[in-house]
Symmetry: C6
């Protein structure tokens, strides 16, 4: 069912745990790339480029960190409500 | 009617779902480019450049992630009020 | 009267609508460039450079997105108080 | 008296107006550069480099935008308390 | 037991102290790189590249700073509740 | 005693004044570089590189600005509680 959504799996920012929130951040970052470059063949060619470039790997880290800020806030940082 | 607005479709940050919020983030990012480079022909030439450049694709991801932070906060992260 | 202010038109972050908030974000970003490079002739030469460079256009998008975060928060995301 | 402080003039984030807050953001950004490169002669040589480079001007805009977020929050966005 | 988690050690953003929160930020940044480039041999080759490149070291600093913002907020900045 | 901590002097984000908060932001940014590049000789060689490069100086400014956001929030922007 999550396949129906192109940008946010399950159409929700809520996850059970921080680890799952982090996985969501990585997926959301990838889905923006997919929405910008819809040709799967080109994406396949680009992936190894940034995965072997230390500067681009750091850029991946930046994007994921920003997405995770949003997800963590949405989940009240996974703290139980007091 | 959303055509009347050049920078934010419908002139609102509120969306029904996270997926729609993400779509809005992508549109808002594109509309700033449009406002900066008003010549559609030049924009058409630039689009494939960044869509095939892994570093620029990551930059697209950064911009969208920042816009989405604002939209998600505006929508209280799509959580129902308690 | 907004001409009196060099960095923020009308000396206020408050706008009536999100669209106007977005316009303010773009203006504030430009006014920092103006404050840094006061020579109008040089600015005129630089403008087409970044307007035709996809990487710099994305950088414009980043700056505007950050400014807009501040403006949106200042306006409580244009939500009516509950 | 503000000369006593090397990083934040008057040792305060509070300003009367948004315009003054923006001026403070620009000063704070410059004072970090000064703290990192203490040699005034070198700084004088570097200034025209970034003031004539469109990419670096955008970077100046990014730094100022981030500093301004902090200053605006410190001043409750210059809204009067309700 | 923290080995079970690939992206966030112990699957929690909560730490006892700011110092430990900072360590977590560094680990989380590294684990995103690991998730993006799963080949340990390639990662080993890339590490010295960015550790000796001043621009990339600053990029590491940016990623860690963003991750730390999230962790610090999750821990209420390590202030005791009033 | 602050020597015991490798990432945050005194293991605290709390400072008496904004100026001291800014000093802490600069130190925290440097300590991440130190944690990433532990060889003091290499760090000594890299320092003049970024201190004379206008683009990297702006990057230093970005990192410090982000760290300072966290520190300022931790200190409630140095406003007295109302």
């Amino acid at each position: 069912m999550s396949q129906e959504y192109k940008l946010i799996p399950n159409n929700s920012l809520i996850t059970d745990t921080p680890e799952q929130g982090r996985e969501l951040a990585i997926k959301m970052a990838r889905l923006v790339v997919k929405a910008t470059q819809s040709d799967a063949k080109i994406r396949e060619k680009l992936r190894p480029v940034y995965a072997e470039d230390p500067s681009m790997l750091l850029d991946v880290g930046k994007v994921v960190a920003i997405e995770f800020q949003t997800i963590a806030a949405a989940n009240n940082y996974w703290n139980k409500p007091s």
